[in-house]
């Protein structure tokens, strides 16, 4: 937090965060909210693993297990991984491209609050009759049969938070196209920025099919629609298609930023520029493109026929090529470098073998004929945890350690960081490696228990032990955050000393306006270039002057709150008379806030030159 915030009271700080449109503060909001949901999802994971530790366990009931398993998946993907990715993107991308903010600061805030209210809404289901219980994929026949309101919470909650994600995606696309500093050509953009760019494009095209699928399910469950009711001509396979047309790109939406984070870390701590930068860019774009061509590999056993299965099998295999290119480029970035094993670098290094395992089992899953065996077994569970944990979660942990000083001005403790790493790394492999074999030995996924005598006992026990290691790692991380916040020392611009990109050229945390003078970018790794020429700062592209800033606004909060209220109303409209009126009131709140946004001119304000100079002097002294 800035020195300015510390002088303010608690109420003022909260108000500041409720109304902020500053991408750096929004990043912190995403980090906190995503972090809390991550802990929640982790808790759910622990419940799952405890239940499955021994055969015929009755730690929790079958019905409750299905709720926990559904919420674990949904929370981790939509409410933990996505926002944490957005936290990194918000914290870093605008600074990396030499911009003062994102293209739409107001929408940035709106995106966050929509996600937040959607997530809270979804989790309120725990207290209001039961959580969704049809798996995160919520396949239509089962989700329509589900008797509680859980699925309705799923549908409406995801609809709201999905809207926020879509807005965020558009925002970053425009930011990266329009807001780059002079000289920051596309082929000079840092890899993380490139990943953000491609990911945002994927969000733009992948989320609408989910929106449509959720609309259909909402109609079917709440308003008498028949999209998925075979008795009236509906077809449940439509849901599967729509879900996976979204769901597969979603994997790349998460993993491409992870690749971007690792690309930055490999280069920084090898003290070398990224090997094969242009082929890395090419591979990222290609992965994004192919990501839309392969959704039906999640549906090999649905009965689409051998032609569709064969085509999607081969298309899926093709993705291995650009991914392989990336792996080798990272290895050769380290080759000949001067590698320093900081905590972020430990994650990056550990990521390579972990992710390669997840990648090759992905290719195995792509072989349609054999996938009839893997599908919906623990083999698949193992595979996607290797990709999502070994890829995305490692990256988020690495990124959090790497950019923590840039976000908060203090370094996380390296010793504790490494303890977290080892606990998490060992626990991760212990938990998930054995699950490949459990699946091959005939254990279906999403089972609340298993019977003795089928050979599943040992594997499940090992897996549960591993989960406890990961939990311990997470607790150490939390302790690290607390200790750092209380005791940590302030750091300068470039605390890792090997920073290459623009974010390391500004103070930690960056001032409100990011750059006193917009920098002139003279090549890839703009800050490294300046450092190698012995300069302390960046080459400015403009004289020092007044800086235009957007006004804070409470409207994004209100717009999101309106939808939150509306969702409650419509969810209960069949049970209670107040349902529909409350729904309409909620929509009116949203539309009203949008109306105010439209009619109130918002020209922003200026930070005057003198104030900038003052702040820069202070920042340099800190």
């Amino acid at each position: 937090m800035s020195t300015l915030a510390r002088k303010k009271g608690v109420g003022a700080v909260i108000w500041d965060y409720l109304t902020t449109v500053d991408h750096k503060k929004i990043a912190i909001l995403y980090l906190i909210a995503g972090g809390i949901f991550f802990l929640l999802g982790g808790l759910e994971a622990m419940i799952i693993r405890i239940q499955l530790a021994v055969p015929n366990n009755d730690f929790i009931s079958a019905g409750f297990y299905n709720e926990v398993l559904t919420m674990h998946g949904t929370t981790m993907i939509f409410l933990a991984a996505m926002p944490l990715v957005f936290a990194m993107m918000n914290a870093v991308v605008p600074i990396q491209i030499g911009a003062r903010d994102v293209a739409f600061p107001f929408l940035n805030s709106l995106g966050f609050w929509l996600f937040f209210f959607g997530g809270v809404f979804l989790n309120l289901s725990w207290f209001l009759g039961g959580a969704p219980d049809a798996g995160w994929t919520s396949y239509a026949s089962l989700s329509l049969a589900s008797p509680t309101h859980g699925i309705d919470f799923y549908v409406l909650g995801l609809q709201i938070s999905g809207l926020g994600t879509l807005i965020g995606g558009i925002n970053f696309l425009v930011t990266i196209i329009n807001m780059r500093a002079p000289g920051m050509t596309y082929m000079r953009m840092p890899m993380f920025t490139w990943a953000t760019f491609v990911t945002s494009a994927l969000i733009l095209f992948a989320f609408p099919p989910l929106t449509v699928g959720l609309i259909f399910m909402m109609m079917d469950r709440l308003f008498g629609g028949n999209f998925f009711d075979p008795a009236l001509g509906g077809n449940t396979i439509i849901w599967e298609h729509l879900f996976w047309i979204f769901g597969h790109p979603e994997v790349y939406i998460l993993v491409l930023p992870a690749f971007g984070i690792f690309s930055e870390i490999f280069a920084t701590f090898s003290r070398k520029r990224l090997f094969g930068y242009s082929s890395m860019v090419f591979a990222t774009v290609l992965i994004g493109f192919l990501g839309f061509m392969v959704w039906a590999h999640h549906m090999f056993t649905v009965g689409l026929g051998p032609i569709a299965n064969a085509i999607f099998a081969v298309a899926t295999m093709a993705i291995a090529v650009p991914t392989g290119i990336k792996i080798f480029n990272w290895l050769f970035t380290m080759w000949g470098g001067s590698i320093r094993f900081t905590t972020p670098m430990m994650y990056a290094v550990a990521f390579i073998p972990s992710f390669v395992i997840g990648g090759v089992t992905g290719v195995m899953n792509a072989t349609a004929a054999a996938d009839y065996q893997y599908h919906d077994s623990y083999f698949v569970v193992a595979h996607f945890h290797y990709v999502i944990v070994g890829g995305v979660v490692f990256a988020l942990l690495a990124g959090a350690h790497y950019w923590w000083p840039k976000m908060f001005g203090k370094m996380l403790d390296e010793k504790l960081g490494k303890v977290t790493f080892w606990l998490f790394f060992i626990g991760f492999h212990l938990t998930f490696f054995i699950q490949h074999f459990l699946g091959l030995m005939g254990m279906p996924r999403r089972v609340f228990t298993f019977l003795p005598g089928q050979g599943f006992e040992t594997g499940n026990m090992i897996s549960t032990v591993g989960a406890f290691f990961m939990a311990a790692g997470t607790i150490v991380l939390l302790a690290n955050v607390v200790i750092t916040t209380v005791k940590g020392k302030r750091v300068g611009n470039d605390p890792w000393e090997d920073g290459r990109t623009l974010e390391w050229a500004v103070s930690s945390p960056a001032p409100e306006y990011n750059f006193a003078q917009t920098p002139l970018v003279r090549g890839l790794d703009a800050y490294w270039i300046e450092k190698m020429e012995g300069k302390k700062g960046l080459t400015p592209a403009e004289p020092l002057g007044d800086i235009h800033m957007p006004n804070p606004s409470i409207l994004p909060f209100v717009i999101s709150l309106g939808l939150f209220v509306a969702a409650f109303g419509f969810l209960f409209h069949q049970d209670h008379a107040w349902g529909t009126p409350v729904g309409i009131v909620g929509l009116l709140i949203t539309l009203g806030a949008m109306f105010f946004r439209s009619i109130i001119d918002d020209h922003g304000f200026h930070i005057h030159k003198e104030e900038v100079m003052e702040a820069e002097k202070k920042g340099a002294g800190a």
């Binding site: 049969a145 094969g276 099998a313 392989g324 290895l331 080759w335 001067s338 390669v356 999403r446 609340f448």
Partner: protein, 354 residues
């Protein structure tokens, strides 16, 4: 699996894989101990892909270990600035082309097998001479109808060995998935349409696995998804034919035992609305609300999961909810006294076609 395995390294790797994996799991359940043509194909594909993937992992690991040991920053190198290499076209071409070749090696058999496994023409011929089973998945139980013989059974599927057995698959409530891991991959039972596929049960390996394979529901379908097991009895053709004949001609045997008689009365009062006790059941499937109990006494499990004995049967009849949460039987019949339980159990245990 012929020409693409000429490469000796692959062959040796494949056999090493096979050795390593064969010890895994139970012969009646594990995909790693295939017991039929379909599972064999899939197992071969598994081995081939695993072998290729192990090569990839090995290459990456070697480079990886070399890099992280050789290029770590040592004392005295704090100020060393390595050469800033842009990239290498030669290397990039190598690691683009080699994976493509590896993938082609994998893609060819994948496509081939995918088409082979989808060949269900013999079951759709007008004059068919193959065994066809209509599988209908229901909330936590399976119905197996043999349309050509006009008989129905449930929970324990009976099939002949040594030939392709064809299946029509569908679900009557929510989506399930039909999976006999040791014999072949799964296929979904949808609510919208009927899927078709075949499995082959190898006689010798069925013998080794005790002639009883485990089947699973592989698609989340509700609280008791984990307990929606079934069993497959794989019999030599002659024995299978005998079984079919017995089923066709099965008639309820009038018992003289008064306890059994009492049980029958209870059954006819409370159970027969859903459960049939003869394998020939002409009612439409919508009316067949519960497992057909013809041959119940010959089955391998109570409710698909519990050991087949009177004690477990009583426990099930007493409170099915406790055993399979969310099942459709709970609450559809009046509570039974211990005496009634005993009678009903005795009666059910007489339902045999052997």
């Amino acid at each position: 699996m012929k020409k693409w395995l000429r490469n000796w390294r692959l062959v040796s790797l494949v056999s090493a894989m096979a050795l390593l994996l064969a010890g895994c799991g139970k012969p009646f359940l594990s995909t790693l101990q295939p017991a039929g043509e379909v599972a064999d194909m899939q197992y071969k594909l598994m081995l081939l892909s695993t072998a290729i993937m192990v090569i990839v992992i090995a290459v990456v690991t070697i480079i990886f270990l070399y890099v992280v040991t050789r290029f770590r920053r040592r004392k005295g190198e704090e100020n060393k600035i390595p050469k800033q290499v842009e990239g290498s076209h030669t290397l990039e071409i190598i690691w683009t082309v080699i994976p493509i070749i590896l993938l082609i090696i994998l893609a060819v058999p994948t496509v081939l097998y995918t088409f082979k496994l989808a060949d269900v023409k013999p079951m759709n011929k007008k004059e068919r001479d193959v065994v066809v089973v209509n599988v209908r998945a229901n909330l936590y139980w399976w119905e197996f109808e043999y349309p050509d013989y006009g008989i129905i059974t449930s929970q324990d599927l009976v099939v002949p060995t040594g030939e392709r057995v064809y299946f029509n698959l569908k679900a009557s409530d929510v989506k399930h998935s039909f999976w006999v891991p040791a014999v072949g991959g799964k296929m979904d039972t949808n609510t919208d349409n009927t899927n078709q596929f075949f499995l082959t049960f190898d006689d010798k390996r069925a013998e080794e696995a005790g002639r009883l394979f485990y089947g699973k529901c592989a698609e989340l379908c509700g609280p008791s998804h984990a307990l929606m097991d079934f069993k497959v009895k794989a019999l030599p053709r002659a024995e299978f034919d005998q079984w079919v004949e017995k089923m066709k001609n099965a008639k309820p045997v009038a018992s003289t035992d008064p306890v059994v008689k009492q049980g029958e009365e209870i059954f006819n009062k409370s159970c027969i609305g859903c459960h049939a006790v003869t394998p020939v059941d002409g009612r439409p499937e919508q009316a067949r609300l519960a497992p057909n109990l013809a041959g119940f006494a010959d089955r391998s499990r109570i409710a698909g999961i519990l050991e087949h004995n009177e004690e477990n049967l009583k426990a099930w009849l007493k409170d099915p909810e406790k055993i399979k949460p969310g099942n459709k039987m709970t609450g559809t019949y009046p509570a039974l006294s211990d005496e009634e339980l005993e009678a009903l159990t005795k009666y059910l245990m007489t339902l045999s076609v052997q």
